[in-house]
């Protein structure tokens, strides 16, 4: 029996490896994805274009504008000549923000009256706009603080505390908030999912479409053996792919790896089992490769989008958070980031591991059962 399975595994691996196109497909796309996505998938906002409409000739307005033009986040600052120029600048997406200062700004400041600066944002990009609004409010607040501290009489200790006291921020695991440290380990998880799922989902569907599945059926192999013969090669490929990407993340992107490698591999295996289980499940239902690809897609897109990669799971409505409990990607993203950046201990890894094991334990036998039913 062992011999039969081994020869089936060898045949599967050869089938993938002998085809030069599949060979290229297994190596190039994951690498390209990793490189492009790691740098593109940043939630940082920088290189922003803004415009300034300054209707005040006074010194305070000039100072405030200088604070904006001097800020490293704003790489391009356009100067507008009048109110009618605001709308075209925003409408055409040329600028994300317009800072508008009224004619009485400097006069009010000199008089010690509250003044205001208007900020207009392009709400079509409201996510970036909100972040930029934070930068802008900061610049204005600091400027306002400066003017006040020049004038203010000495205060008592408590009042000074109220004016300047702050909490000390400490950022753990990624002290410079480097976005690459966040995205690239998560991408290893996501690209592994893509490959593992498509390889398994298509493997049986292709045999069925080409008619070679019949030949497998008349062979002495049992359904369990066929399933094993499909699972093991996908597992091997998955581990290989993931190792290649981990190496790129560590050696090329220079993301620190503070956790334990054996723990990473142990969880990778469990994770791949759960993904392959889903892939085989899709494969056993699909009659054609198109159905298999689309089935894989219908699983993959929600699984990735709801994994906490694109946006935190905590932001989702409660009922949807409950749905994500059945999503293996969600757990693996936590584990892989935890092992990379937080040196996550085995006990915490285990907490995220057993739900994936449960998913694998549900999908693999179901797929086997579906095969057996199809064959009889």
């Amino acid at each position: 029996m062992l011999e039969r399975i081994v020869s089936l595994i060898v045949k599967e691996l050869l089938a993938i490896w002998r085809d030069p196109k599949s060979r290229v497909i297994l190596v190039i796309p994951p690498t390209v994805q990793l490189f492009v996505l790691a740098f593109a998938a940043t939630q940082e906002v920088k290189n922003i274009s803004i415009a300034v409409l300054n209707q005040d000739a006074g010194a305070s307005a000039r100072d405030l504008v200088a604070r904006f033009t001097g800020s490293p986040q704003f790489t391009s600052v356009e100067f507008l000549r009048g109110e009618p120029e605001i709308a075209p600048a925003i409408d055409s997406r040329r600028v994300l923000m317009v800072l508008s200062i009224q004619a009485d700004f400097s006069r009010k400041i000199a008089a010690g009256e509250p003044a205001s600066a208007q900020l207009i944002f392009d709400g079509r990009r409201s996510n970036a706009a909100q972040i930029v609004a934070g930068y802008a409010a900061d610049i204005v607040a600091r400027y306002s603080e400066e003017i006040l501290s020049d004038r203010r009489a000495p205060l008592t200790a408590l009042a000074r505390a109220a004016g300047s006291s702050a909490v000390t921020p400490r950022i753990w695991f990624n002290p410079n908030l480097e976005p690459l440290w966040n995205t690239s380990p998560a991408l290893v998880a996501i690209i592994t999912t893509l490959m593992g799922l498509v390889v398994t989902a298509l493997s049986v569907a292709r045999e069925r479409e080409l008619g070679t599945f019949e030949q497998l059926l008349v062979s002495p192999l049992s359904p369990t053996e066929i399933i094993l013969g499909k699972t093991v090669p996908a597992l091997l490929l998955g581990v290989l792919e993931a190792s290649m990407m981990v190496a790129i993340v560590v050696f090329v992107f220079r993301v620190p790896f503070w956790g334990s490698a054996p723990l990473l591999y142990a969880s990778m295996l469990v994770y791949l089992f759960s993904v392959i289980g889903v892939g085989l499940f899709i494969s056993s239902l699909a009659k054609t490769q198109q159905q298999a690809v689309l089935g894989a897609f219908a699983f993959m897109v929600p699984a990735i989008m709801l994994s906490g990669f694109a946006s935190p799971v905590e932001n989702m409505p409660d009922w949807l958070q409950t749905v994500t409990l059945a999503n293996p990607v969600r757990y693996y993203v936590v584990i892989i980031k935890g092992i990379f950046l937080k040196d996550m201990p085995a006990s915490v890894v285990a907490e995220n591991l057993w739900p994936m094991a449960l998913i694998a334990a549900a999908t693999l036998p179901t797929a086997t059962w579906l095969f057996r039913r199809r064959m009889e």
Binding site: F39, G123, A162
Partner: protein, 395 residues
């Protein structure tokens, strides 16, 4: 030609050929159409997947932070710590758990159970009384930089407000500290005044849906004919290149436009996204986008001749760029320059900008005209390439 009669003029002969061409294209379209209808996965893709994606982007992907779980460490209870704790508990941004030792909270931070820790040390009240610069401390999980930054901002905001309140309720000299800021900022968000991320995610997801239909399905189509050998049967018929390609393009064009209309209507009716442009402009830009995506799919299909390779190539060439390099979720301006250059080649980039403008701003010519022209150029180049690589003959 004899039986056609000697009186047949050259003009009517070419009419004959044209009529034959039209009939052949119609036949191919009908055949391809039947194939779509017979395979439930095709219309699942056109009907079910758009709804699924809209649903995910409508409910699941939201960039608006809500109720982050944090822990507050109180090493020694005093009236001040109680009052600050209450401020954190009342904040709509946080879900607070109280612990008494730092290490308890630190384990939770490692396990991803919480996103931040506010530490009030044993001498918190003393430090506050002394006017110490930093009586409290906040730890955040930097492995998610975006959330870390937001948690830091919000937590500092709560603290600052609390200080101001304390100063107000304390002695009157402290009231001076809670003066209003000298310069107020008035942020205004045009086109999306309540700043809902759905308002730009839902229109953007139409680009993803149409990329999938336009490229993934068509990528499989020619490859399938090669794998199954049916393309050789087609070569033996009088069908030429143009007819063959039209026969493939027309049904998927119809499918793609159908999915677009379904998504747009669902977006407006179910997810309350405004639509401020004109339907005509939406149809025009979408048609142009599809005309760029369809030849891309057929090109992949013709070059790979293998459904596995074709599906992977379509993922890389269409789905991922539509998702990552289009400005749909991630700001293009913030990407490093080589990737920014790459986005200029992506049809999705032009389409996402047009969609967001059509839904939220209206028919803004300065956005729609250049973007539609860019799509037309890409479509023309891809059609040219496709026409070159398509062979209706075995080598």
């Amino acid at each position: 030609m004899n039986h056609a009669g000697p009186e047949l003029s050259p003009g009517s002969a070419s009419r004959w050929i044209r009529a034959g061409r039209l009939r052949r294209v119609a036949g191919l379209v009908r055949k391809e159409g039947w194939q779509i209808v017979r395979d439930p996965s095709s219309y699942l893709l056109a009907g079910f997947l758009p709804l699924l994606l809209l649903f995910i982007f409508g409910y699941g992907v939201t960039l608006d932070l809500r109720r982050v779980k944090i822990a507050v460490v109180i090493e020694q209870r005093t009236p001040e710590t109680d009052s600050l704790l209450e401020s954190y508990q009342n904040s709509r941004y946080f879900e607070v758990r109280v612990v008494h030792h730092r290490y308890e909270a630190q384990d939770d931070l490692v396990a991803n159970r919480i996103k931040g820790v506010v530490v009030m040390p044993a001498d918190f009240a003393d430090r506050l009384g002394r006017g110490d610069l930093a009586p409290a401390q906040i730890l955040v999980d930097g492995s998610d930089p975006n959330t870390a930054g937001l948690v830091l901002d919000y937590a500092q905001g709560v603290f600052a407000n609390w200080l101001a309140q304390e100063a107000l309720s304390g002695a009157d000299l402290m009231a001076r500290a809670s003066r209003p800021a000298l310069i107020a900022t008035e942020p205004r968000y045009w086109f999306n005044s309540e700043v809902r991320s759905q308002n730009f995610l839902v229109p953007g997801s139409i680009a993803i849906i149409m990329s999938l239909i336009g490229t993934l399905l068509t990528a499989l189509v020619v490859a399938r004919e090669w794998e199954r050998g049916t393309i050789e049967a087609l070569m033996a018929t009088p069908v030429d290149k143009l007819e063959f390609l039209l026969g493939k393009l027309i049904p998927y064009f119809a499918l793609g436009m159908g999915a677009m209309i379904l998504s747009a209507v669902t977006g407006v009716l179910v997810f309350d996204v405004p639509f401020r442009g004109s339907p005509g402009a939406l149809l025009l830009v979408s048609a142009m986008f599809l005309l760029a995506m369809l030849p891309l799919g057929l090109l992949i299909s013709t070059l790979t001749r293998n459904q596995f390779a074709a599906s992977q190539a379509a993922l890389i060439a269409a789905y991922l760029p539509a998702f990552e390099l289009s400005g749909f979720i991630f700001e293009i301006d913030s990407m490093p320059w080589p990737i920014r250059m790459l986005t200029w080649l992506m049809p999705a980039r032009y389409f996402v900008a047009s969609l967001q403008t059509l839904f939220l701003a209206g028919d803004v010519a300065s956005v729609l005209v250049p973007n539609t022209l860019a799509l037309a150029v890409i479509a023309a180049v891809l059609f040219g390439l496709l026409f070159r690589v398509t062979r209706m003959r075995l080598e």
